[in-house]
């Protein structure tokens, strides 16, 4: 059974691509066959985050247009054998993605017995975002603890519940999860930032992960190595937990509190 997962948010720049890349790696590391697809036509960057930008020959739109086969366009990851990337096209034609075309590609991935297809959604609620979520079985809604991000997520939840294949054919709807990222425990403790509990209460959704704000994420994108592969990073451990929860394991949330620092560190650390 192939499970199609959309990583979506409404608002841009909240961490969808970071999350798609790390979740895809995490699932592949657990032995799953994974394809991760960049739906951000015209603004591709999943390939950069995955570190395979120089190996893009054909892209998603090429496959849809029949310029090449899906096999030719799927880029095999060099680190994880079961992981594949389908890059977005750089075309400026927003109509390059069609419902029929996307369905064909997903059907072929299902026929090829992939375990998971991760759809990295573009921002907004237009066509690209719509098509990224349309065929999904599950949604990971990425949110920052900040008013505009939370509000946009709620709009996305409304679309997931009304404008998807599962919502219209009575298949029980899309299973929704919340992933909170760029979480800053220190600012939460001082009352400057909403807590996991606050966001969960407002959106009324189960939390699949809380990723701390971390400099390792920028370092990871600089290197083209998804942050989950950095053994020393809290953000990596938090993404690892989120992947485990996606696979059905029950784990307590971690990194919700500021790491304890010594007296001198507090005195001089600022």
């Amino acid at each position: 059974m192939t499970e199609i997962i959309v990583v979506t948010s409404g608002k841009g720049g909240v961490g969808k691509t970071t999350t798609s890349a790390s979740m895809a790696c995490g699932l592949a590391r657990r032995g799953k066959r994974v394809a991760v697809i960049d739906f951000d036509i015209g603004l591709r960057n999943l390939d950069l985050i995955m570190g395979c930008e120089r190996r893009v020959v054909y892209d998603f739109v090429n496959v849809i247009n029949g310029d090449c086969t899906l096999k030719q366009a799927l880029i095999k990851d060099k680190r994880l054998e079961t992981l594949h990337v389908l890059a977005a096209s750089q075309t400026r034609d927003k109509d390059a993605l069609t419902e029929e075309g996307v369905r064909r590609v997903l059907d072929e991935l299902i026929a090829e017995a992939f375990d998971y297809v991760i759809c990295d959604s573009p921002a907004g609620i237009e066509k690209g975002a719509h098509l990224a979520m349309y065929f999904a079985d599950r949604a990971v809604v990425v949110v920052n603890p900040e008013v505009s991000s939370v509000r946009d997520s709620d709009r996305i939840l409304g679309l997931l519940a009304s404008k998807t294949q599962r919502s219209s054919n009575g298949n029980g709807g899309v299973k929704e999860h919340l992933l909170l990222t760029r979480y800053n425990p220190r600012r939460v403790a001082s009352g400057e930032m909403m807590s996991v509990g606050d966001v969960k209460e407002i959106l009324g959704l189960d939390v699949i992960g809380v990723i701390p704000e971390s400099p390792d994420v920028l370092a990871a994108s600089n290197a083209g190595v998804p942050v989950i592969l950095n053994e020393e990073s809290d953000a990596a451990a938090a993404y690892g937990d989120a992947v485990s929860r996606l696979l059905g394991e029950e784990l307590p949330l971690r990194f919700l509190e500021e790491p304890k620092r010594g007296f001198f560190a507090r005195l001089f650390g600022g």
């Binding site: 509000r151 709620d154 407002i202």
Partner: protein, 85 residues
Amino acid sequence: MGLLALFRSKPNSASIAKERLRIIVAQERGGRGGPDYLPLLRRELLQVIHKYVNVDPEAVQINLEREAGHEVLEFSVALPEKPGE
């Protein structure tokens, strides 16, 4: 308030954010699944009301209630208090 208290008691902006979101999310969820013309209807009603009374936009509420078999469009305007009463 003493000077020290002034420094200590920063307004808790997270709780303000939460309260604002609670209201806006409830409002937007209320209109969801209803007819697409609801936001426009609300705005036009506001304009008409404004010709007669100067109400705060927030005082105009539109709710779509779904009950068994029928829908009720509920509309309420909180009028401003009259001065001197």
